[in-house]
Symmetry: C2
Subunit: 470 residues, 2 copies
């Protein structure tokens, strides 16, 4: 009995340690973030420990510690947004609270005063709470409105007791400024995690996921028979596509944070962040097609091999070239180049779609049963739809490139070493393929293929969409 309990605890501990390792490995910035939080709070606590600093603030130094704990977020944008919100809301809320306190003392009646103050608190809290429902306020100033209510109520209410309201408001404001700025400085100076960079990478990764799906789809559809179904492969692929489909909330959150960030790395002030939202939406539409195609891959009704053979060439071409175009778009975003390399692939995909259309109009189908043809025709039609989705994405990326002044790819000087590495990489891509219930790595010579970027299975940016809350 005791032994089994001991074993259970042992399993639990090993499970937790495995999870910890995985979390840290997926995004090492998590460890850095934890250390940064510890450091910032310890730094602010100094105000308490050392006498000279303590003299000025007294017990109110506590507010600085509280602020540092609450304001420190994973990304720079979130921290700055929260810090600015808290500081501004404290100043405005403090002044309004002081005003309300003065107004209530005008009555000169100690009995009426608490009722007046109560009324002020009730109306302000109610109004501000309702304002938090406005979508635009919610996106940028939700935290500020909450802190406004808080400060207003505290100053207004405690002003009734404490005669030195101005003094108190002043100390509260300066301690909160100290807490906010300590958090912001530590967050920005030590290994900053930028929400903007994460948004940029997330959108690029999403397009890469689509690209990998379409690059592999043709092979999977035309090389496997219907009864082969490797659950593992199925899950990996559909999980990645589902991540893209469910990325809206993540993108929106990162966008809100990115707006608070100043110039950093390759991102200038006024970087067109909203364009990422647009690309993200188009990518989700494309992912919907991928999901539908994936469903057909394992559907019970399959086209006969004879039919598949006829569709194989144009369909594989459409799928692969759409995938290549998306791959180039993803690389162009990632490297901030103009997406000129995607155009030839897109042209080829469109050409293949036209060929397919011509083929459908020819009379090679006369002797075939329509029910045999339909499954493959559906795939073909959806793939043609994917081409137009890819075109839309390419257009949006082009727009981003011109808005953000991405560099022309011809201007980029490639260092000899990178060029060499590229050459050795070129000419073959490894691809996983399902056949006879085994996952096989196939090397396909493809001179048009670009260097592959690996897709992290758990995009780091997911860690950032956390909405901290005190």
């Amino acid at each position: 009995m005791l032994m089994s309990k001991y074993d259970k605890i042992k399993t639990d501990i090993s499970h937790i340690s495995q999870l910890t390792k995985k979390l840290a490995k997926d995004d090492p910035r998590r460890i850095i973030h934890s250390i940064k939080v510890g450091f910032a709070i310890t730094l602010v606590s100094l105000f308490y420990y050392f006498d000279p600093l303590y003299q000025g603030f007294g017990v109110n130094a506590m507010w600085a510690v509280l602020t540092a704990v609450v304001v420190f977020e994973f990304s720079v944008g979130a921290t700055l947004g929260k810090g600015v919100n808290r500081a501004l809301a404290t100043i405005i809320g403090g002044m309004s609270g002081f005003g309300a306190h003065k107004l209530s003392t005008l009555s000169g009646n100690k009995f009426v005063e608490p009722f007046l103050l109560g009324l002020f608190v009730f109306i302000t809290a109610g109004l501000m709470t309702f304002m938090r429902f406005f979508p635009k306020m919610k996106a940028r100033f939700d935290y500020g409105l909450l802190v406004f209510i808080l400060t207003f109520c505290l100053i207004c209410v405690s002003g009734y007791r404490n005669e030195e309201v101005i003094e108190m408001a002043h100390i509260r404001i300066s301690s909160i400024l100290i807490g906010s700025s300590t958090a912001a400085i530590v967050c920005v100076v030590i290994c900053p995690a930028w929400a903007g960079t994460d948004l940029h990478n997330l959108v690029s990764t999403n397009i890469l996921t689509l690209s990998l799906f379409f690059q592999g789809f043709g092979l999977e559809y035309f090389n496997t028979s219907s009864d082969i179904n490797s659950d593992d492969e199925y899950k990996t692929s559909i999980d990645a596509i589902n991540n893209v489909l469910n990325s809206k909330n993540n993108i929106d959150t990162l966008l809100n944070y990115a707006r608070w960030e100043f110039r950093h790395g390759r991102f200038k002030r006024g970087h067109p962040w909203t364009q990422y939202q647009k690309i993200g939406e188009l990518a989700r539409h494309c992912a919907c097609r991928a999901e539908a195609l994936h469903g057909l891959l394992y559907s019970q009704v399959q086209a006969s091999n004879e039919v598949k053979a006829k569709f194989q060439e144009p369909c594989m071409k459409i799928s692969a070239e759409s995938g290549n175009a998306l791959n180039e778009l993803s690389i162009a975003i990632k490297k901030m180049n103009k997406p000129s390399k995607a155009k030839p692939h897109l042209q080829k995909a469109k050409q293949a779609a036209e060929n397919l259309n011509l083929m459908l109009k020819s009379n090679i189908w006369k002797n075939l049963n329509l029910s045999d043809v339909t499954p493959a025709a559906t795939v073909a039609n959806l793939l043609a739809d994917v081409v137009s989705c890819t075109e839309d994405i390419a257009e949006a990326v082009q727009e981003l490139a011109s808005l953000a002044k991405f560099k022309d790819v011809k201007d980029v000087k490639v260092s000899p070493q990178i060029e060499k590495a590229k050459l050795t990489n070129q000419g073959s891509t490894k691809r996983r393929c399902v056949a006879n219930n085994h996952v096989i790595l196939i090397e396909i010579p493809s001179p048009t293929s670009s260097p592959r970027v690996s897709v992290p299975r758990d995009p780091p940016s997911l860690a950032m969409a956390q909405q901290n809350a005190e």
Copy 2:
């Protein structure tokens, strides 16, 4: 100049007032919530205003106000979750902080003490911050971990100055308990907004949206020619489907809140909330098919009218019957009945899909061009896929019904008035249809149709997924 500025302000004000009206009309609970927040905070402020209550707490009554502001959330589940998190974390954090304080005084050296305390603060803050990355901790105890860091640091740090640490910790804990419980009681007693009910309604509404789409799809596809495209109608329909596609985050958030709620209304303790997540996911898969179908509705390549005429009957049947089945499932969830009424519709849809398959095998296609047939065949194939999606949803709803012990529909006694209203409603459904660039309301006699439930364009539950933050 002055005039134009005045006009601008006037427009802005009218815009804001319109938005306010819309927000309030979309979900009147928002107004109630705002009033409740004002009331709860005013209630807690009483501790400050009235002498007998003030004596016990002094300035620490401020913590009660702060807690009430921060803990009060839109839904009961969110408020309870935050309240419990805050209360428990304060108690545990306070005790740990006191322990750390005692440990550091053991050194007996006034010079070493601050360094020891600093080390404790650093390690605890870092560790707890990392723990917030664990998905399970994040979902339920994110706020608790934050408050733990906060309380630990405050007690630990101020303990260095303030000799009466126990007294301080005690007052802080009791004031936070008062704030939390006031917020919780006001939230539960006055017009409570239950996250569980919202989750239930959101999932039911999502299925209803799908149902409306499929009920209308057959009509739209087979009655409009390719060049007619009413942007307005297009937008409404696709927006609703997009809402379903993007509902994951909302459902997950509501699920987390619902777990904190106790028995309420028709929901017993241990209601299988996670099953809603499963149904939500299946609905999103189905919405993906709807999105793909919608894309085909307005795609440039369309089947000829001759071909469409051949596909019309079975495809319209599949679409309508899938829609009806989904409608019945949605109503069954909403009313918490067993979904037995959906089965006949599902059977009919499956039968129609089989008929379609037989038709495809027949030789009526010999003289047709495959490129003319493909678009319609794609639609037919996707619709067949929709039938299997609908089956999956029906299964999941059936599972929910047996887990949550939904009542058998035969047991339900219908009051004469409702029956009468049903009868007058029956036999005709109004449907919007696009033709010649005009949106027309068409009445279609359909004895199988069930009473319609209107789809709110902005589901109220969206208002609840707000993550409040102090």
